[in-house]
């Protein structure tokens, strides 16, 4: 696949996809922002500043950015637990995300949700889910509501490889296809469900071919190649918006960090992790392409990285200076 892609230069591709240099740089900048957020999250944890757990998406940035730039900002998003990148791509407020991560009242969920439950209903970000596959069937209701309310948006339902072996995955694909719901299903395959290699728990791969059984068009793509994610998503979304029903995209990617804070990487080799980091890192790949095409100098790349870090550092200052929720409010929000 990579060889086939290399026949077309980045510039050619950008012209074909009608992406301006500005848009390409914005994509790069957003990937850097996600990366810096995740690196900072890891650092804050190491410093003992994080109360709970976290699921970092470093290494998977191209999936988040490629999808978000090929969809509308007001499309509905249903997210998995490794969701920081998707929210940042959807232009979430970094300060409010960081405040939520640190459990502060100023956070998106007033410190009640934490890393695993960031949501922003004002931007149609319907939240991350702590139950693997738990959000998948919500796409049915969102899709039905979009139809009933004659909305123009679509629903983007994102889940990991592990979720594809949950019962609701199959139930939902069946109903979504049956009812031609406007839903884009993204299986963000980062190879491991906690420690379990998807190859050890799935009878047939790729996961995406399961969609065939439900009559849903599917794609299995390189999730670390930003413009492949962008183009595939763009084409899928066009189909969905024209009323043809759901489309399924599996993006093959890899997480650099462990599953969560308890992960000691006992199930994968250092060589494997290093290989993905050095040869398939989505930011490095896209950065190199931009550089080779003369669209981004090394100095500019460095500057963008520094700017991203500054935004994240400012968010940490904001979050750390925000108050904790008042214990007297502990009973709030149980019922509307």
């Amino acid at each position: 696949m990579e060889k086939a892609e290399k026949k077309e230069t980045l510039k050619d591709k950008a012209v074909r996809l009608k992406l301006s240099t500005e848009q390409l740089i914005d994509m790069y900048r957003t990937m850097q922002l996600i990366r810096q957020f995740e690196l900072m999250a890891d650092k804050l944890y190491a410093l003992g500043k994080v109360h709970g757990t976290m699921h970092l998406s470093a290494g998977q940035e191209a999936v988040a950015v490629g999808i978000s730039r090929a969809t509308r900002l007001d499309d509905y998003l249903i997210n998995h637990h490794r969701g920081h990148g998707h929210f940042i791509s959807k232009k979430a407020d970094i300060n409010l995300m960081m405040a939520e991560f640190l459990g502060k009242e100023a956070g998106y969920c007033k410190g009640r949700g934490g890393s695993m439950h960031i949501a922003d209903f004002s931007s149609n970000n319907l939240g991350a889910n702590g139950i693997v596959g738990g959000g998948i069937p919500h796409s049915l209701g969102v899709g039905l509501a979009i139809q009933m309310q004659n909305k123009e948006q679509i629903c983007i339902s994102i889940f990991g490889d592990g979720a594809s072996n949950e019962g609701v995955f199959h139930e939902t694909l069946n109903m979504a296809a049956l009812w031609k719901l406007p839903v884009l299903y993204i299986c963000e395959n980062n190879k491991y469900g906690m420690s379990m290699d998807i190859e050890r728990v799935s009878a047939k791969l790729p996961i995406a071919q399961r969609a065939e059984g439900y009559g849903i068009p599917w794609y299995y793509i390189d999730g670390n190649d930003l413009l492949t994610v962008y183009e595939t998503t763009r084409d899928a979304v066009a189909k969905i918006r024209s009323g043809e029903g759901p489309v399924f995209i599996e993006t093959q990617t890899y997480r650099h960090f462990g599953h969560s804070k308890s992960d000691r990487n006992l199930y994968r080799t250092k060589e494997e992790i290093e290989n993905w980091k050095t040869t398939k890192d989505p930011i490095r790949l896209f950065g190199n392409q931009l550089n080779e095409s003369g669209l981004l100098s090394l100095e500019d790349a460095e500057r963008i990285e520094q700017e991203a870090l500054s935004i994240i550092e400012a968010a940490v200052v904001f979050a750390e200076s925000s108050p904790d929720p008042d214990p007297s409010t502990v009973m709030e929000y149980v019922y509307a």
């Binding site: 939240g127 959000g135 039905l144 309310q149 609701v168 149980v334």
Partner: protein
């Protein structure tokens, strides 16, 4: 009963305003009227269209409202509830029908981890206005997987409201409140009550949640019960009244939120408490009622140990005699009342 219109009118006129309809018809009336009134309301579930649902509750609604609002699904209970959650998040008012309450166990992630928690874990920014209707209870010979009373399980999940109507009047008024409530509501219908009749006014009326109904006033002993056990308790109380024993019967109607005040007031008055429920005994909600009473001012007024009469800690058996023996019957209730009054426990 509370929340009823005044009754000082001619009987002939009364019957015009308060026709006797069945519990099933009362539920259908609530669904029908609210769907007419609010286009955000739709019903989703298995066999709810031409078939009318396993018990016939939605019979005729497909013709009236069409398949866009009477949405028939594959046999995929978790995703039926999940679909309701998603639609509720976008401001719709979904009503999911789970064919038998037992199948709710298939859906516990969607009910317990998703619907119940979203408002809270998203800091109050999401609301999940949905109703899950579920027929429960034994007596139909449906055996272990189609006869359970699982309200305690749902009561234990903060974020859910749990409703157990015992009469047609309550069923309609509570269901309208449930549909309009901004939270997920588990609406538990007792399948053996579907054909029971009662007076129900035509048109709109709602019954607030968290307001118990004193189904029968009395002075000698308080029974707290719900669902079909209300009717068994009333039958026993009416018999005992001929001997001058006056039993007060309290129907919480909504298990969550629970009207503790009415219960505490009653026990303060009678000094004796018997909790009767069909659900299994261990960790059943009788224990909750007793805890409420024993940690309240009513404790000082107790003249006897609080007692509970519940379903046995067994799956519901198929055989008619065994099935009957598995849950409280009128003779059991009568025996318990007499034992408490005589101090024989």
């Amino acid at each position: 009963m509370q929340n009823r219109p005044p009754t000082q009118i001619l009987p002939q006129l009364w019957s015009m305003y308060m026709p006797e309809i069945t519990y099933l018809e009362a539920i259908r009336a609530a669904l029908w009227e609210e769907m007419k009134r609010d286009e955000r309301v739709f019903i989703i579930g298995e066999d709810i269209g031409r078939y009318g649902g396993a018990f016939g509750v939605t019979h005729g609604m497909l013709d009236e409202f069409g398949e866009k609002r009477i949405i028939e699904t594959p046999i995929s209970e978790p995703s039926i509830i999940g679909a309701a959650v998603g639609a509720a998040l976008l401001g719709m008012r979904p009503i999911a029908e789970i064919m038998f309450m037992d199948f709710t166990l298939l859906t516990l992630d969607q009910i317990g981890n998703q619907a119940a928690k979203m408002h809270f874990m998203f800091g109050g920014k999401a609301t999940v206005p949905m109703v899950v209707r579920m027929p429960g209870g034994s007596g139909a010979g449906a055996a272990a997987q189609h006869s359970q009373s699982l309200e305690t399980l749902l009561m234990h999940l903060p974020g859910l409201k749990v409703v157990t109507p015992s009469t047609p009047y309550d069923a309609k008024g509570l269901l309208l409140t449930a549909i309009r409530d901004p939270n997920p509501v588990c609406f538990i219908e007792h399948k053996m009550l579907y054909k029971t009749k009662g007076e129900v006014p035509e048109g709109e009326y709602t019954i607030p949640f968290g307001v118990a109904d004193i189904k029968r006033p009395g002075t000698d002993l308080t029974i707290v019960s719900n669902g079909i056990m209300i009717h068994k308790s009333i039958a026993v109380a009416n018999r005992l009244a001929q001997e001058g024993i006056e039993v007060e019967i309290i129907d919480p109607r909504t298990m969550v939120p629970l009207d503790t005040k009415t219960i505490i007031d009653s026990v303060t008055k009678t000094g004796k408490l018997l909790v009767v429920h069909e659900a299994c005994e261990t960790a059943g909600w009788a224990g909750e009622i007793m805890a409420v009473v024993s940690s309240s001012r009513a404790f000082d007024y107790l003249d006897a140990p609080m007692r509970r009469l519940t379903g046995k800690n067994i799956p519901i058996p198929y055989n008619r005699i065994l099935e009957r023996a598995a849950v409280p019957q009128e003779e059991d209730i009568e025996r318990e009342i007499r034992a408490i009054l005589k101090g024989e426990y």
